[in-house]
Symmetry: C2
Subunit: 416 residues, 2 copies
């Protein structure tokens, strides 16, 4: 099987100023193409450390993909380094130069500066990979049967290059074996509970099928991976095992694809021709954001109200002042009134209302940080549920959103 | 200077199912403590590949921090591997066992299963690092003067361990030299324009001070890093250079700290004792989410309306049906009516209203994907601005939010 290493370059990755999303994205694309990512390495903008990384990854993998360090600024040393590493000399590439001029004159509508022109220089022993989304060209080098491809660190530019060129080049070069993955998602119990249910199943799996547990925000994703030469045979084998696994965890099963909770909700609403709306206090628009981040969400989503303050709950959702005073904003009564008020204000079939204390401040003796009330329902029925989360603000917001969406999912399935 | 390597373990990192946020977070903490992260490596749940990574990183660094592969499920092989690597044997650790029992009985309120008890087993030649947030204990090994620390992959658990124990242990062990960083943020022009402004400045920097460019979403972060033995001396030197740099880029300067745009807005509002509210169409609650993700945002934020559909724009913001029909939802007229309607519905000093086409579908001949109208203002004055973004849905949403917040920032500074 063909192995790949991904090297991401940049001091920002090593001081933690930037999260490396590039290598996860590249890994997904390689995986789909049947190329296994063996290692991912990040190094700083330091000549010797980049050089060493190239030497070392050559020992591990057939394909070495490199991102970062190609900008016009002087902390970007990857291009001259690669030129030296592969023994070339720098020349102006005509196609890359035309691209730089085109982008500045036609798209950015700014004058081209001296450092922009430098972007069109490449080592003379590389094959240029065009960048349709930016000024820095990609570069492909070959050495001892190994392929090295250097791409910009800007995610949007790198992604265009991988989709339009890199995968095609790699598939022509390497005859990759088949990988199949199937993932299902459980919600509401921990990894160890699921592991106990699947203990026997896992022991009986054939050697070429692997099971992985990926716990995250109340969900556990269970991924089966099968590898082999015959794509159809491993496809059939993995499907049989997947059905068995589904049956074993059916009590907690929420999806049989690697889907997000919001996508599950969107598919459910789309199938039923219904719409949802949210009234959010503590999640501050995060649930609305998750729903609207999905393309096509306007088919099943109309709008939301974020009512952070008492005043906004009264103004925008007609929550009664007396209810707020008597029970406090984080209470069953208030989330029920928020949901009811929302359904009156907006034309939606289902409502989600949430109110809670996300921290770090705002906790009360009887309502500590992490206390959340959620109501979901429709014009005929509203159900409410209290949660306690024990985490920091960010994670409490995310968990509240996931659990609120899951409550709606159950409501839709049970009240149809 | 003391060097560290971070090894993150898990197949999910190599097929791109999960983004590695752990190593960025750890890198931040080490950096603050004056320990340089030299390399970050991710490997799969494969015995030989983890073993090789330990061998290799020992050649690069004094400290090797490891996350992942400590769960109770059988794809988690890190613990037995470490036991063998350092030549120990597995024993039950009493403190870890008490912790497992405590968490299940008192916190999770679930019965302890067999796989949970396994969590309390550790190699007999490690020092246990307590996990106050989960069942898997941390483990510290020493070999040839190098320190190896293995931690769980669950971010919340790992973070507790690093904050409470790991940094302290490393600082006692290694006499780290000082690192100072200072970052400022520019908005509205690209990396190369800034680079041209700073070309001379950068050439004149002393050797122990480094400048890095971090472009992201219309912003460019400029980071100066100084390293040396004398903390006070490098502090003084970096501050002098920072003032010079500030002056050179002042036209585009928006912040003199490594702050997010939403934090800049929050600080501005807090200082003025004013509040903001948002009326969001295409951003679907994302701006509200950014603002409310900040602790303490209730001091300057009341609420928002997400009006995705025509109906919601009319119902929630009193946008006139005729305006929508005549000009379309993505128009100057509509965002102005959204902002005005919002300020009537909600008690806020400033309003942001956005409407646009985020893609992939929904583009029109005269309004292609990426067309966005933004209005910002107060009860006396509203200004509107049209943007064109050229990216995918996710990036268009993020860019719209950043530019809308920046428009408000300028409005507040100019209309006070």
């Amino acid at each position: 099987m063909t192995n790949a290493s991904i090297i991401t370059i940049g001091d920002e990755l090593l001081i933690g100023q930037v999260i490396d999303t590039n290598s996860a994205w590249i890994a997904q694309q390689l995986n789909k193409a049947g190329i296994r990512v063996k290692r991912r390495v990040s190094v700083g903008d330091v000549f010797d450390e980049i050089w060493n990384a190239l030497d070392e990854e050559t020992l591990h993998s057939d394909i070495i993909l490199i991102t970062g360090g190609l900008g016009p600024t002087s902390d970007d040393i990857t291009k001259p380094l690669l030129c030296k590493y592969f023994g070339g000399k720098m020349v102006i590439n005509d196609e890359a130069l035309r691209n730089v001029k085109y982008l500045f004159e036609q798209v950015f509508k700014r004058p081209v500066t001296e450092s922009n022109f430098k972007q069109a220089e490449v080592p003379d022993n590389c094959t240029v990979i065009p960048n349709m989304r930016g000024t820095a060209p990609g570069m492909l080098f070959e050495k001892n049967g190994k392929i090295f491809i250097s791409m910009p660190g800007v995610p949007y530019e790198m992604q265009g290059m991988v989709q339009n060129n890199v995968i095609k080049i790699l598939l022509e070069k390497f005859n990759s074996s088949a990988i199949q993955h199937r993932t299902l998602i459980t919600f509401g119990v921990g990894e160890s509970t699921i592991a106990d249910l699947l203990q026997h199943f896992e022991m009986e799996l054939p050697e070429y099928i692997k099971l992985a547990y990926l716990p995250n925000y109340g969900m556990v994703r269970l991924r089966l991976s099968a590898t082999g030469a015959d794509k159809e045979a491993i496809n059939e084998a993995i499907n049989i095992q997947f059905e068995t696994m589904k049956e074993l965890v059916k009590e907690y099963l929420i999806a049989i694809d690697d889907e997000s909770m919001e996508k599950i909700i969107g598919n459910l609403l789309l199938a039923k021709g219904k719409t949802v709306s949210t009234a959010e206090s503590c999640t501050g628009g995060y649930i609305a954001h998750l729903l609207t981040a999905l393309p096509g969400s306007s088919a099943w989503y109309d709008g939301s109200v974020v009512s952070y303050s008492y005043q906004a709950k009264e103004d925008l959702l007609n929550v009664k002042h007396s209810t707020l005073l008597q029970h406090g904003a984080v209470s069953e009564e208030v989330v029920r009134e928020m949901a009811k008020g929302l359904l009156k204000k907006i034309h939606a079939d289902y409502a989600i209302a949430v109110s809670g204390i996300m921290g770090p401040a705002g906790g009360l003796p009887d309502k500590p940080v992490g206390t959340v009330w959620v109501a979901v329902g429709n014009a005929h029925k509203i159900v409410a549920h209290k949660f306690h989360f024990r985490f920091d603000r960010k994670k409490n917001i995310e968990l509240t959103a996931m659990n609120a969406l899951n409550l709606l999912r159950k409501f839709i399935l049970e009240n149809d």
